[in-house]
């Protein structure tokens, strides 16, 4: 038995620490800690309810759009505001742009280096690389130029963000056995890594156009949107969505399918708690959360693949292992935030994160949850892409894969990329929906009428998972504000009953080949996009 620690977990948003116990080459126990506390909820109290839209999104610089939308919805729910249809579509589009931005960034910039060894790419044969790219149906680029540039970069001796790589990736005999891709695939992925940096920025430009800037947008203000599109801007948006969709079709999806056969063992671990929550995202015209493009629902796989109804009252937060001096088991509506640091101890308190629970049990959130809930609800776009992918991977695995195989590290990685494809297709549809609405003469974007007191919740989905904002307004001022962020669900510590959180459970059972370089631990942690 040995304790292995990864602190900091790099290539994520925020500060995360993972401590695991390794027994006979496998993780036998795990403790996941949020190591930063800032106090957002307290800053919002006593301010104008609309102001939360701007401030609360600054919880997360990678998913601010989703926080801004959850905040706006909590305000609208509390004050009885129904947003105009144009605002609904515009918010869906801004949200979609963030999803595409975030999923591209996650796969290529944050997670890829767990699977792709750019140093190994130096030994790629360029002709073979073209042949492999063609066979995989993935995007062709000037692979020779990328290889030359990589070579110059490595020979320069200043490795920038790859500094320390000689320890982490390893070279020669020290090469980490977890990096199993052929050098040609490493080169393709590295070339797309560089291209992805451009494409994530193109997706973010869409938010820039409709929301003023990204990160931290300006226009989805409670009441609707401040953005009034012109024909020129609609063109600019459509052009960019089309470009991003093309990259997803020609690189993200084929790359996923090309890499997956090399890491099929990742289908056998990393599944976790088996409970999946989605608040639902991308509003349909009827504004019904169960009818959202990706619908609301809660799946407990131990009770079978069916979705239960779920709502704001099903959430509680325990703090037995978190540094807060408040009672456990409160619903966020009554939630309190009183920080109180004490010694870190895996048998006592070890995280700034609260242990969020849904219907009393830990719940995984994120693309895998959304895709599963949509799948069991029979959402056609989701059902066909999952069935199609399972068929392709079954051929590679030489065995018929069932949907339950998604509850794994590989499933979590794949679900995110498949979701990107589904959202990219919808985004084009929504731009056309907006154009049609405007041509039809709808010129309403914002409603000003609102109550001055009330209590409400905004339950929505960030790319990385379910986000809930709870707001109580008294006399035009915020009396209480609570946030349950996506990461709060996934990196939750143990609860009052001592049950580990979703990432902790996913880590347990994960193989660790080299405890000095626990690559597999990092893969599981990153798969949540924490």
């Amino acid at each position: 038995m040995a304790r292995v620690v990864v602190d900091p977990v790099t290539r994520i948003e925020g500060h995360l620490r993972v401590e695991v116990e390794v027994t006979n080459g496998k993780v036998s126990d795990a403790w996941v800690s949020g190591t930063l506390w800032r106090g957002m909820e307290k800053v919002l109290v006593n301010r104008a309810p609309e102001d939360a839209f701007w401030v609360a999104q600054r919880i997360c610089g990678v998913c601010p759009i989703s926080h801004s939308h959850a905040s706006a919805q909590s305000c609208e729910d509390a004050l009885g505001i129904k947003i105009p249809n144009n605002a609904r579509i515009i918010r869906n589009l801004i949200e979609a742009a963030q999803y595409l931005h975030s999923h591209i960034l996650w796969f290529y910039t944050l997670a890829a280096l767990d699977y792709v060894n750019p140093v190994n790419a130096l030994s790629a044969d360029i002709a073979d690389t073209y042949a492999l790219a063609q066979a995989a149906g993935t995007r062709i680029t000037d692979f020779g130029a990328v290889a030359a540039r990589l070579k110059a970069f490595v020979e320069n001796g200043q490795l920038s963000i790859f500094t320390g790589h000689e320890g982490w990736f390893g070279v020669g005999a020290e090469k980490h056995p977890g990096y199993v891709l052929p050098p040609e695939l490493d080169l393709i992925a590295t070339a797309h890594y560089l291209e992805a940096l451009e494409l994530q920025a193109v997706a973010a430009e869409i938010i820039g156009i409709m929301g003023g800037k990204f990160p931290h947008q300006m226009t989805s203000i409670p009441g609707g949107t401040a953005f009034v599109p012109t024909e020129q801007k609609l063109d600019d948006i459509l052009f960019r969505f089309t470009r991003v969709k093309e990259f997803i079709d020609t690189a993200l999806i084929p790359d996923t399918l090309a890499i997956a056969p090399y890491i099929l063992d990742a289908a056998s671990f990393g599944g976790g708690c088996g409970n999946f929550l989605s608040w639902g995202v991308f509003e349909a015209e009827d504004l019904d959360p169960y009818n959202r493009y990706l619908p609301r629902g809660f799946v407990e796989t131990s009770k079978g693949l069916t979705a239960q109804e779920v709502g704001p009252d099903d959430v509680t937060e325990d703090v037995d292992h978190s540094w807060y001096d408040v009672p456990s088991g409160l619903n966020p509506k009554e939630g309190k935030t009183v920080p109180k640091w004490e010694q870190y101890s895996t048998s006592g308190k070890y995280s700034w994160g609260k242990a969020a629970r849904c219907k009393g049990v830990p719940a995984e959130v994120g693309p895998l949850s959304r895709m599963l809930v949509a799948y069991v609800n029979g959402r056609p776009e989701v059902k066909s892409i999952i069935d199609d992918t399972l068929a392709k991977l079954s051929a590679a695995a030489g065995a018929q894969l069932q949907p339950t195989v998604l509850v794994s590290l590989l499933g979590r990685v794949a679900a995110r990329n498949l979701e990107a494809k589904v959202v990219a297709d919808w985004s084009i549809e929504w731009v056309n929906e907006l154009i049609a609405a405007l041509k039809g003469g709808d010129s309403s974007f914002f409603v000003t009428d609102r109550a001055d007191s009330g209590q409400g919740a905004g339950l929505w989905e960030a790319p990385r998972g379910s986000v809930g904002h709870w707001m109580t307004v008294e006399g035009g001022k915020i009396a209480n504000y609570q946030v349950v962020a996506p990461t709060t669900w996934d990196i939750a510590p143990r609860d009052s009953k001592g049950v580990p959180g979703p990432m902790e459970q996913a880590l347990i059972g994960t193989p660790v080949v080299d405890s000095e370089r626990p690559l597999e631990v990092l893969r599981v942690a990153h798969s949540f996009d924490p």
């Binding site: 620690v5 602190d7 900091p8 790099t10 290539r11 994520i12 948003e13 925020g14 500060h15 620490r17 190591t35 506390w37 800032r38 106090g39 307290k42 006593n46 104008a48 102001d51 401030v55 600054r58 610089g61 601010p64 910039t109 944050l110 280096l113 990328v146 970069f153 200043q158 920038s160 963000i161 790859f162 500094t163 320390g164 790589h165 982490w168 990736f169 940096l197 451009e198 920025a201 973010a204 430009e205 820039g208 156009i209 003023g212 800037k213 990160p215 226009t219 009034v228 540094w323 920080p339 640091w341 870190y344 101890s345 895996t346 070890y350 974007f445 914002f446 000003t448 370089r517 626990p518």
Partner: protein, 410 residues
């Protein structure tokens, strides 16, 4: 060979379909941002392309949302890959670096011992709960973990210069907003408090605008010959004094003048509507479709000193006011407390250091205000416009009282 003549950057740009003409154009805009003549563009291009040895840099995240890192990923050509691979050697950059855990932490200590680097700091300095609101790098049972403030101090001590990027690093940002329960503060205040004399350049807005960071990198490479001390000598700075509530320090922040020397209002494309008294009074309305001024729905452009309307955001795609939203003044100090409620217009409108009322423009301008307007280059010929402009917004009683004191005629 092209590679020898132009360096790796030239090839890279060619691969990406960026022509030399585009690149020079970009360098021209960087020159403008730096307050240099656009004729400097070829020299900027040469400095960027030459890049014989990368400048070592550490990028540390304090109490951050990672939004400033995200923002850097949204930089225009030359893009982030270029910055990372061709100008700066980021030996620590939590969000994008390959290594993790102790393998990553070693890089900070090693570089801090060797010196000769710039430190870029994102996020607030977290002092609350005895500094335990942020900790990193412990072993089993958190043995040997360092507090965020300790890492900042270690990395800042031997740095040639510190660039505090984003409002959180500048003065604590939104986290510093009342009640500041995590006792967040800014980098300059904390280092002064700890007696660390490494110079700090402050670059607010939430997040930081990536083009401005690139402009500073160019300034460092080109004008200052990679010498951070010279960089501070030759870069004109605005000096912004404030008192930090957490440390009690009286701090003078240094902000690059080319970026933080003028108000948003000074450069706003909607400025003409302000002077004509054409205002948006309801968000998302037909007045918004006509691009009227957002002052009446709370725009903080007149009191916020940044270059947003010129640089714009997301590779120049747009910016806050163009999208129809009032500026919330995220580039100001203690911006959440000072600028909220964001949708209410300020009872005092500050243009530069002078308080004025919009009602005064085109109607009656007090002597002090008029001087202020001229100094800040409000583009109207004051004398010619007084009295014959279109109807202005309705004047509040509060405003009338203040105007009377200032000698206005209403």
């Amino acid at each position: 060979m092209a590679q020898e003549a132009h360096g790796a950057l030239h090839d890279l740009l060619a691969v990406r379909g960026v022509t030399r003409r585009d690149f020079l154009k970009y360098c021209g805009s960087v020159a403008a941002m730096l307050g240099l003549s656009e004729t400097m563009a070829p020299q900027i291009a040469a400095a960027l392309e030459g890049a014989p040895k990368l400048m070592p840099a550490l990028w540390l995240n304090g109490g951050s949302c990672t939004g400033c890192t995200e923002s850097i990923a949204q930089v225009d050509t030359p893009d982030v890959a270029t910055i990372v691979l061709d100008y700066l050697s980021f030996e620590y950059f939590e969000t994008i670096m390959a290594a993790a855990g102790s393998w990553a932490e070693k890089n900070i200590t090693k570089r801090a011992e060797e010196g000769g680097y710039i430190l870029i700091y994102e996020g607030s300095v977290m002092t609350g709960q005895d500094g335990n609101t942020l900790f990193v790098g412990g072993g089993p049972e958190n043995e040997g973990a360092k507090k965020g403030i300790e890492i900042l101090e270690e990395a800042a001590k031997n740095a040639a210069a510190v660039i505090a990027v984003g409002s959180c690093a500048v003065d604590g940002g939104w986290i510093y907003g009342y009640p500041n329960a995590s006792e967040a503060t800014g980098v300059a205040a904390w280092l002064q408090h700890k007696g660390i004399t490494t110079p700090v350049v402050s670059m607010p807005t939430c997040p930081v605008n990536p083009e401005w960071v690139v402009a500073m990198v160019v300034q460092l490479l080109l004008v200052a010959d990679r010498d951070p001390a010279k960089f501070l000598q030759v870069t004109p700075m605005v000096k912004v004094p404030y008192t930090d509530a957490i440390t009690g320090e009286k701090v003078t922040l240094l902000m690059p003048k080319a970026i933080y020397g003028q108000t948003i209002h000074d450069n706003c494309p909607r400025r003409g509507h302000f002077e004509n008294g054409e205002f948006v009074t309801e968000l998302g309305s037909k007045e918004e479709a006509m691009g009227y001024c957002l002052y009446k729905v709370g725009c903080k452009g007149p009191q916020t000193f940044t270059q947003c309307p010129v640089t714009r955001w997301n590779r120049r795609a747009s910016w806050c006011v163009e999208s129809g939203a009032p500026c919330i003044g995220c580039g100001g100090l203690n911006w959440v407390d000072n600028n909220s409620p964001f949708l209410k217009r300020m009872s005092d409108m500050r243009i530069g250091d002078t308080f004025v009322q919009p009602g005064t423009i085109g109607a009656a301008v007090g002597a002090v205000a008029a001087a202020g307007l001229v100094v800040h280059g409000i583009g109207m010929k004051a004398a010619g416009r007084i009295g014959d402009g279109p109807p202005m917004e309705e004047m509040k009683a509060y405003d009338r009282k203040r105007l009377a004191k200032k000698g206005g005629d209403k």
